[in-house]
């Protein structure tokens, strides 16, 4: 049921993107988020779109799988598209039906925002799909390390993140299990009126919370038993290594930014 969800999952592989240093990928995604906002015309958005497809190709993740896994986000995209479509009142009217008026600018804005949303979601998904949660955390810790001077608890933040990422699939499985158990007892979460469905969520959420708290407690105990006492003096088993390809991928972003600035209106 939930097995199609792809958030926080890692697909093992050996593509160019898989082999990149996690730090490079993180920086890449952050810069990309900023660069996306340069685009403001058909050409620039088109370039973004093509760029994203190139990255997908390089990651060797099947497009069908990617799109299918992003279904919940697609709903959100459609929703924002409709909002822009209906509430933007600029340009000439291209469609009119009773009280709904659709303006040219609304359509344009709607499409642009959808593309922006789409490329952002795809690229961040590719980041998590091609990088193990543990290396994302390592990378984040390495990148934030300078902030330690200002007493930011970098190690603790990274640990919190890795634990939450680590438990997404576990909690998904757990949800699936409890959902099935309650369905076997006649609770129906997939049909009925909105109120009925809301009621059907309670028997799912309560056991889920109970087990999540139990798990958290067990995990804390297990860590303490193994002598965990924070990041102080901790050495590393995995080393991050910056290679030429990491520099190359970041340079490609600079090129993208320059092209976008050139075609921008």
């Amino acid at each position: 049921m939930l097995e199609k969800m792809i958030f926080g999952r890692y697909i093992p592989g050996d593509s160019f993107i898989h082999r990149l240093d996690a730090r490079a990928k993180l920086i890449f995604v952050f810069l990309f988020i900023a660069i996306v906002f340069i685009a403001n015309s058909w050409i620039t958005y088109g370039i973004l779109f093509v760029f994203t497809f190139l990255i997908i190709r390089m990651s060797k993740i099947r497009l069908y799988f990617l799109i299918n896994g992003l279904k919940p986000v697609v709903l959100l995209i459609i929703f924002t598209f409709l909002l822009h479509l209906i509430f933007t009142r600029e340009g000439s009217v291209i469609f009119e039906w009773k009280f709904i008026k659709i303006y040219e600018e609304g359509l344009r804005q709607g499409i642009f925002i959808s593309i922006r949303f789409f490329v952002l979601v795809i690229l961040t998904s590719i980041l998590t799909l091609t990088t193990t949660p543990i290396s994302i955390t390592d990378a984040l810790e390495a990148l934030l390390n300078p902030l330690k001077k200002w007493r930011l608890p970098v190690h603790e933040l990274a640990l919190m993140m890795s634990i939450s990422l680590r438990f997404i699939p576990t909690l998904m499985d757990e949800t699936d299990k409890i959902m099935k158990a309650q369905m076997a007892r006649g609770s129906d979460m997939t049909s009925g009126s909105l109120k009925e469905r809301m009621n059907a969520i309670v028997p799912l959420l309560i056991p889920l919370f109970v087990s999540a708290f139990k798990r958290a407690e067990d995990l804390a105990t297990a860590m303490e038993v193994r002598g965990y006492k924070g990041g102080e003096g901790r050495t590393r088993y995995r080393k991050l290594e910056w290679a030429t390809r990491d520099t190359v991928i970041l340079l490609s972003l600079v090129v993208l930014a320059i092209i976008l600035l050139y075609f921008r209106q």
Binding site: E3, K4, R9, I11, I61, R62, Y64, F65, N68, G69, K177, I178, K180, A181, Q182, M183, A184, R185, G186, S187, D188, T190, S191, V202, P203, I206, P207, V210, S211
Partner: protein, 289 residues
């Protein structure tokens, strides 16, 4: 209610990189009123079979006939509700499904979902707590305040309260102490005999399968590789070893004794009581000779 699996195949996460075939062409016939055990090693697909028995999973290929409902890949969920009422599943660690404020409400949850009036559901709940050996005062307690063993019993009561015709048990005694184990297994057996409940037991325990089941199916790597009466199954030790399974303790013991005495007992004894009886008879005969 008969359940028939015909050429059932199932794949998890179909059409994703995580796709995993779990079942291959499983055929199994569970006639009404029988006690069927399904045994297999971890990962052999037995829990997947179990979820097919009340249409929580639909086969990706093949079909399952549950009573008069035929379940196939493209079946709409609407028709499956009545199947779920008739086939009760006690999942592994069923206490994880408890959620309501009081034990009473939790037990009533199942039957009320299927439209049983509150009064009736309540009387069933009271009767079941007694049957499962729980003190009556637990009914008003929160299920989260009970001990592990009591929570297990409450969860089992929650499934039995739906008055299913078929009871599917997935390792119902995992993690219980030996005494609680025996009490619960004996209770299921009594229900099976008194109410004619068709029972499907998914288990690791060869002993439980030997003691209670009429028929045993052995799963290995997603296939149903052996099927037959306990006697037939336990006659063939080598084949069991192929599937990384062992004989039940008392059959093992019987073989050792037979080796020592150089004699064979007329049948394979599935319980300690039966074995003791047979051995006593054999010794008596020896003395008379």
């Amino acid at each position: 209610m008969d359940i028939t699996l015909q050429q059932v195949s199932y794949a998890y996460a179909k059409n994703t990189p995580f796709e995993k075939r779990a079942l291959f062409d499983v055929n199994l016939d569970i006639p009404s009123g029988s006690y069927q055990a399904i045994i297999g090693h971890t990962g052999s697909g037995k829990s997947t079979v179990l979820q097919h028995l009340n249409a929580l999973l639909k086969p990706t290929e093949g079909s399952i006939k549950i009573g008069d409902v035929l379940v196939k890949a493209d079946q709409k969920n609407k028709h499956l509700r009545k199947v779920r009422q008739k086939v009760g599943i006690v999942f592994q660690f069923p206490e994880h499904q408890l959620f309501d404020e009081t034990v009473l409400k939790d037990i009533m949850f199942g039957p009320m979902n299927f439209g049983v009036p509150a009064e009736e559901a309540k009387s069933r709940a009271i009767e079941l707590t007694r049957l499962l050996g729980l003190p009556e005062e637990v009914l008003e307690k929160s299920p989260f305040d009970l001990s592990g063993g009591q929570m297990r019993r409450v969860a089992i009561a929650g499934v039995l309260a739906m008055n299913p015709e078929v009871l599917v048990l997935d390792e119902p005694t995992a993690g219980l102490d030996p005494r609680g184990r025996k009490e619960i297994m004996d209770l299921f057996y009594r229900l099976h005999q008194e109410k004619g409940l068709t029972t499907v037991l998914v288990t690791h325990s060869m002993e439980d399968a030997a003691r209670y089941a009429d028929r045993i199916a052995i799963m290995h790597d997603g296939k149903c590789v052996l099927e037959g009466t306990p006697q037939e199954i336990f006659e063939n030790e080598e084949r069991l070893l192929d599937y990384r399974l062992e004989l039940p303790q008392c059959v093992k013991f019987q073989k050792k004794v037979e080796q020592m005495m150089g004699k064979k007992l007329p049948t394979i004894c599935l319980t300690e009581e039966k074995l003791a009886e047979e051995l006593a008879r054999l010794m008596k005969e020896e003395r008379e000779v």
